[in-house]
Amino acid sequence: MVKDVLTRMGDGQRIKMSPAQIKEDLLAGTKDAADRGRIPELGSSELEQLFEIIADKNRIVGVEPGEEIVFTDDDTVVRARDDEGAGGGIGLPISRMLAILVHERAYAQDSALIDSAASVNVMEVKAEIAGEMTAYETASLLTTIPLLYELSPALLWYFRPLGPYGNPADLLPQGKIQEARDAQEEAAVHLMNDLIYIGEQLSSIGCDCFNLDTTAASGDAEFYGVLKAVSKLKEVAPNMAVEMGMAGEFVLGMHGQIKFNGQRLAGMFPHQQVKVAEAAGVDIFGPAINTNCSESFPWNIARTVTFVKQTVIVSNIPVHVNAGMGVGGVPMHPTPPIDCVTRVAKAMVQVGKVDGL
């Protein structure tokens, strides 16, 4: 008799599904991605492979020897030191230095990351850059693995009331579309200049990689500002790599008409985002595909792998899929379930053919 399989919903809730239901959801997930992104669906053998991964009776699954990949992340310090918040922190009274060494030596990770001690606001990081440079230098002396400096290039900080520019969220409902576009363009230039300044300073003290995480969270104007900053940094700081991690699978058209290299950024999906990132000079690209909490884990993983597979195929640079809480097929829960996390890893490696996570 065919047994039901223990799996989960996108919010982490445990459910049982029959093999037929799982296969139905796998197909529905890949079709959803294919329709939205106008990309190929996964083939029948790939869907079968995903089914085998999901239906594996073991709690933890893994890749075969020789298939191992490498990891970058956005959370080395926050995970150890902060509250649950957005990063699932475990609240240890630990310094940035110690968190990084634990990440390297105890977690055996392939790279580590240092981010601002005080703020996620680019303008505030710029004001504290000397302290950040010192912290990076010290950590870099003790780490053997590559050390990245992470920043979230959020455009929202540049809008009123926190920043100097008109807020599109206020202007658009008033029908002031051109004013909203103008404000976003001005803010994007300001963001670009700030990122260039910070990047140059970091490179001057030996930063190995500048990680721009959650790019395009505020939409296409933010994406534009970051791409322009990367293009310039590749000229003025050529020895520092750049990793770009996206905020979501779809670039929101808050501006709607802004272009990079003649391509409109609004509406781009991961396989399109990676090409403009590549053109700007990005060294590692991290697509983010959002988890749908109302759908099953099989649905989400099939959808995610569909997007990722196409992104990897078209990319000439390494692709490190964002696979954390609520992205990459991982359920949206502060303690992501290990059964799903390991299945995501296996699916990304064996079907998605990723270069890392």
Binding site: I60, Y107, D110, I145, P146, C207, P318, D355, G356
Partner: protein, 113 residues
């Protein structure tokens, strides 16, 4: 979560050669297969040995490129990265800056005595 990912699919950083593969992705934009092949050739090991911690621990110690367990006197941190840059034939930004600031880019005959 990083531990779960590492167990399921990770090279394990300096347990094996995950950091070395990472350096190739960062400095040369190599995709995974190419980066692994490149590193294996530089280490003069097979691809399977490269991900075997029982092989890599001793090799890393002998090459001076850092080990995950603490060995007094063994290369760590920036020392190990200097050796890694040399082994892989790559430019590592922090290594170059360290050498510049430490006067190690100056020929030995010209350093302050």
């Amino acid at each position: 979560m990083p531990i779960a990912y590492s167990m399921a699919a990770g090279m394990g950083g300096i347990r094996t050669a995950g950091d070395l593969v990472m350096w190739m992705q960062l400095t040369r934009k190599m995709k995974l297969a190419e980066a692994k092949q490149y590193v294996a050739e530089k280490l003069k090991v097979s691809l399977m040995d490269m991900v075997d911690e029982c092989v890599m621990r001793d090799l890393r110690k002998d090459l001076g490129i850092g080990t995950i367990t603490a060995l007094p006197g063994a290369a760590k941190g920036i020392e190990a990265k200097c050796k890694i840059a040399e082994l892989l034939g790559i430019n590592i930004n922090c290594v170059n800056k360290f050498k510049e600031r430490a006067g190690l880019l100056v020929p030995a005959t010209e350093r302050v005595k």
